[in-house]
Symmetry: C2
Subunit: 451 residues, 2 copies
C-alpha cells in the first residue's frame, strides 16, 4: 500500500538468519521487483544466490533486470547453466541486450550460449545499431495484427501471443511485407464491436521513428505526443520494433544527467556516483580542469601586461574578482538557459536573432542595476575616488552585456556546427568572459584614469 521501508529489510534479514526459507519466499513474492532488488543490494553478497533461487521464475527474471551490474555479474557467475538459461530466456529482448552490453566478455559468452537461437539472433541484430539510436533501445517484442482481421479475431490472437510481449496496449497493423499501415489501441479493441474489421478502426496516421533516430529525440517525442510506445521502422519503412515509455523515461533521465555533467565540465559517466571508483571519477574531471586551467593562463597574461597600470593604482586589483565573477555568472545564466531550451527543442538556430536581441536587452537591464548598486556601495562604504568608481561601474555594464551575448550565442553556434551545446556552459563561458572582462577593465582604466 505504501512505499517499502526498512522494516521489510529487517524481516528479510531475520528470516534469512533463522533459515526460514519458506516464509522468506512467501514474503518476497508479495514485493515489487524493484523493491526486492533494492533489499538484495543491502544484504551480504554471499546470500544473493540463495535468495535469488527462492524467487519464482518470472519474478526472478524481473528482479534480475532491476539489479545493478555488479550484483548481476555475481549472480550469473554463481548460476548453473540451467539457472542462467531460465533467467536469460525470461528476459525481454531489450533487457537482454542491455545485459550483454554491460557484462564482461566471458559472461557474455555464457549468456549467449544459453539464449535460444532466436533470442541470440535478435540480440546480435540490436547490437549492430549505433549507440544511443532508437534501434539500440527498442524491443522486438510487440503485437501486430492484419488489417482484414475482426476485433474478435484480434483479441483471440492477443490472448494467444500477447502474454510475452512487453506492451500489448498498442497493436501495430502490418501488411504481409511488414509495412506499418496503422495502429489500434487495446482500448479501441475493448470498446469496439467484435465483428468490426481492424482496417475500419485503425488509426492510419502513425508517427514512427527510424532505427537510426537519436534516442534523445525519441524521448522528446514521448513527451510531446504522450505515447505509451512508439514504433521503430527501418529505412524501407518495415517495422522492426517498439520503444516503450519506461525506456524513454530512462533515456530522458540519462541524457539530462549527461547534459548537467557536461555543463559542469565533467565527462559523462555511465554509472551512479557512489558506484564509480575514485580513479574513474578523477578521469571524468581532470581533462576539463586541465584545459580550463591552461586557458586561465591568458587571463594571467593580460594581468601581467598591465602590471604597470596595476602598480600605479593597486586599488584596481581589489575589484578583479568581483568583475570576473559577475561576468561569469551573467554568462552562465544565459548559456544554461539556452542549452536547456535547445535540448528540449524549444529553441532552434533560426531563433538566434531573437535570442541575441533579448539577451542584449536583459543584459543592459542587469548591467545597469548591478552597476548602480555597486556605485552606491563604492562611494558609501569603500570610499573609492569617483573616477575609479566610474571605471569599475562602466566596465561592469559592458561586461554583463558581453557575457550575456557570448553566453547565449556560443551554445547555438555549437549546435549549428553539430557540436554538443552543453559544453558551452559555465566553465567555458567563464574562461572567455574572464579574459574579456580584464581586457575591458584595463583598457577603460588606462584611458579614463590616464595610467
Amino acid at each position: 500500500m505504501a512505499e517499502v521501508k526498512t522494516p521489510v529489510y529487517e524481516m528479510i534479514e531475520n528470516l534469512l538468519n533463522a533459515k526460514k526459507y519458506a516464509s522468506l519466499r512467501d514474503l518476497l513474492t508479495t514485493l515489487n521487483p524493484s523493491d526486492i532488488a533494492a533489499v538484495f543490494l543491502d544484504l551480504p553478497e554471499q546470500s544473493l544466490p540463495l535468495l535469488f533461487r527462492l524467487l519464482p521464475k518470472e519474478l526472478a527474471a524481473e528482479t534480475f533486470v532491476e539489479m545493478d551490474e555488479d550484483a548481476q555479474e555475481i549472480l550469473i557467475r554463481g548460476f548453473s547453466d540451467r539457472e542462467l538459461n531460465d533467467v536469460v530466456n525470461e528476459l525481454y529482448v531489450d533487457d537482454a541486450v542491455d545485459l550483454v552490453e554491460e557484462m564482461p566478455a566471458t559472461v557474455v559468452r555464457r549468456i549467449l550460449k544459453q539464449a535460444t537461437p532466436e533470442l541470440r539472433k535478435t540480440i546480435n541484430e540490436i547490437l549492430q545499431y549505433p549507440e544511443d539510436s532508437a534501434g539500440s533501445i527498442m524491443t522486438t517484442e510487440y503485437v501486430y495484427l492484419r488489417p482484414h482481421l475482426t476485433v474478435a479475431q484480434s483479441l483471440d490472437l492477443i490472448r494467444k501471443n500477447g502474454i510475452d510481449k512487453e506492451t500489448i496496449y498498442t497493436c501495430y497493423v502490418l501488411t504481409t511485407d511488414r509495412k506499418l499501415i496503422g495502429i489500434v489501441s487495446a482500448r479501441s479493441l475493448l470498446l469496439a464491436q467484435p465483428d468490426v474489421l481492424i482496417s475500419d478502426i485503425m488509426e492510419e496516421n502513425v508517427i514512427s521513428v527510424q532505427t537510426t533516430t537519436d534516442q534523445e529525440q525519441v524521448a522528446l517525442m514521448f513527451n510531446k505526443y504522450n505515447f505509451l510506445a512508439i514504433p521503430v521502422v527501418d529505412a524501407e519503412g518495415r517495422m522492426v520494433g517498439i520503444v516503450t515509455v519506461d525506456d524513454a523515461m530512462d533515456v530522458m533521465q540519462e541524457e539530462t544527467t549527461e547534459d548537467i555533467e557536461k555543463m559542469a565540465a565533467i565527462l559523462p559517466s555511465e554509472r551512479p556516483y557512489l558506484k564509480t571508483g575514485i580513479f574513474a571519477t578523477f578521469k571524468q574531471r581532470i581533462p576539463w580542469l586541465l584545459i580550463l586551467m591552461i586557458s586561465a593562463t591568458f587571463t594571467g597574461m593580460i594581468i601581467t601586461s598591465f602590471e604597470k597600470a596595476l602598480a600605479a593604482q593597486v586599488v584596481l586589483t581589489a575589484f578583479i574578482p568581483m568583475l570576473m565573477d559577475t561576468g561569469g555568472n551573467s554568462g552562465s545564466q544565459a548559456s544554461v538557459t539556452i542549452i536547456r531550451g535547445l535540448s528540449l527543442n524549444e529553441i532552434e538556430f533560426k531563433d538566434l536573432p531573437r535570442v541575441i536581441w533579448k539577451e542584449f536587452r536583459v543584459g543592459i537591464l542587469c548591467g545597469v542595476v548591478l552597476a548602480a548598486a555597486n556605485f552606491l556601495r563604492l562611494l558609501l562604504f569603500n570610499r573609492i575616488e569617483l573616477p575609479v568608481a566610474l571605471v569599475i561601474c562602466l566596465t561592469l555594464v559592458i561586461v554583463v552585456v558581453l557575457a550575456k551575448l557570448v553566453g547565449c550565442s556560443l551554445p547555438m553556434f555549437a549546435k549549428k556546427l553539430k557540436l554538443d551545446p552543453a559544453v558551452m556552459a559555465s566553465p567555458f563561458i567563464t574562461t572567455i568572459v574572464d579574459a574579456l572582462s580584464l581586457l575591458l577593465y584595463f583598457e577603460i582604466a588606462s584611458s579614463l584614469l590616464k595610467l
Copy 2:
C-alpha cells in the same frame, strides 16, 4: 508515417488562404493534436478561432490542451458560451485544472460557469491540494472494479464506462468505502478466462502515493517501477485519483529544468525562454547576480588587506584568476554531481562520510596532477622563480581539495536542512571557494616568501 514537417504547414496555409474549408478539415483530422497545435501556433492569430471550429469536437478538445496559454486565452475569448461548454466538458479533469490555474480570473469565471456542476466540484477539490503535490497533478477519472466481479462483467463495465477515462490500462479494485485493495491490468483482464473473479487475479501489493506526496517523488517512482499510472490515496487510504505516466514525464522535465536553472543562479520560470518577456527574464536573473556580486566584495577585501604583499610581488596577482577559476571549477564539479545524485535519490545524507572520503581522494588526485602540470609550465614558459612557483602549486593542491570538500558537502547539508540543494551549485560554491583560495594564497605566500 514520419514526423510532421513544414510541407503540412504550407498546405494548411494555402487551403486557408483559398478558403477551402472542407479540404482543410479533412487534412486536419489526419493529424495528431500536438502537431495541429504546433501548426496553429505559426499561423496568423486571427485565423485561430476559424481553424479551431473546423475540428471535430473531441479532436478540438485534444488540440486545445496541447496549445500554449496565450493561444488558449485568445480562443476562449473568441468562443461562444456553447463552444466553450463543448471544449471544457471534453477535457480530462487534470487538463481542466491546469487551464483554470493558468487563465486570468475573468476567463476562469467563464470556464467554471460552463463546466458541469460535477466537473466544477472536482476542479475546486483538486485546486485545494498543495502546489507540486500528487493531488494537484492527478486526474479523478479512472476505472475501478469490485473484487467479487468476474472478468467478463468487468470487461462489460469498462466498455460501458471506460471510454471517458484517461487510462483504462490499469483498473483499481476498491471496497465499498473506496479503500484500494488491489489492481488489475487490462492485460490480465484480456488474458484471463471470462468467469474468473477479480479478487483471484488482482495484484494485492499496490504501491500508491498520498495526495500530499511531492510531485518529484511521484515522477521518480514511475522511473523506478515502470508504471503507466500510480494511484493516489487520501490520509485514510481512500482512493481519490491517479497520476498518469505522461504527466509524470512532464513533471520530471519541469523539475529538472528548475534544478538546472537554480544551479545557474536563476530563479525558476514557469514558461519557455522564448515566451518569457524581457522584464520577467531580468527578474529571474538579477537577484542572484546582486547577491553574488556583493559576496564577491569579500574577495576584494581580502585582496585589499594583502595590498602590501601584492605590491612587493606583483607577479602573484597574475595567478589570482587561474587559482580562483580552477578552484571554482573543481568545486562545481563536485557540487553538481552531488546535487544530481540527491535529486535522483541515488545519494542520501547518510552517505556523507563516504562522499567526503571519496571527494577528498579525488581532490588530491586532481590537485596533484594540476599542480604538476602548472609547475612545469611556470618553470618552462613563464620563467617564474622557484619559490613563487612552489607557492602557486602548493596553493593549487589545497584549493582543489578544499573546493571538492565544500562542493560535495554543502548540497548535502542543504538537503538535510530541507533547503534546496540545487542552490548550492557553481555560483554559490565559486564565491566561497574564491575567498578561501585567496586567503590561502596570501597566507602561503606571506610565510614562504617572507613578505
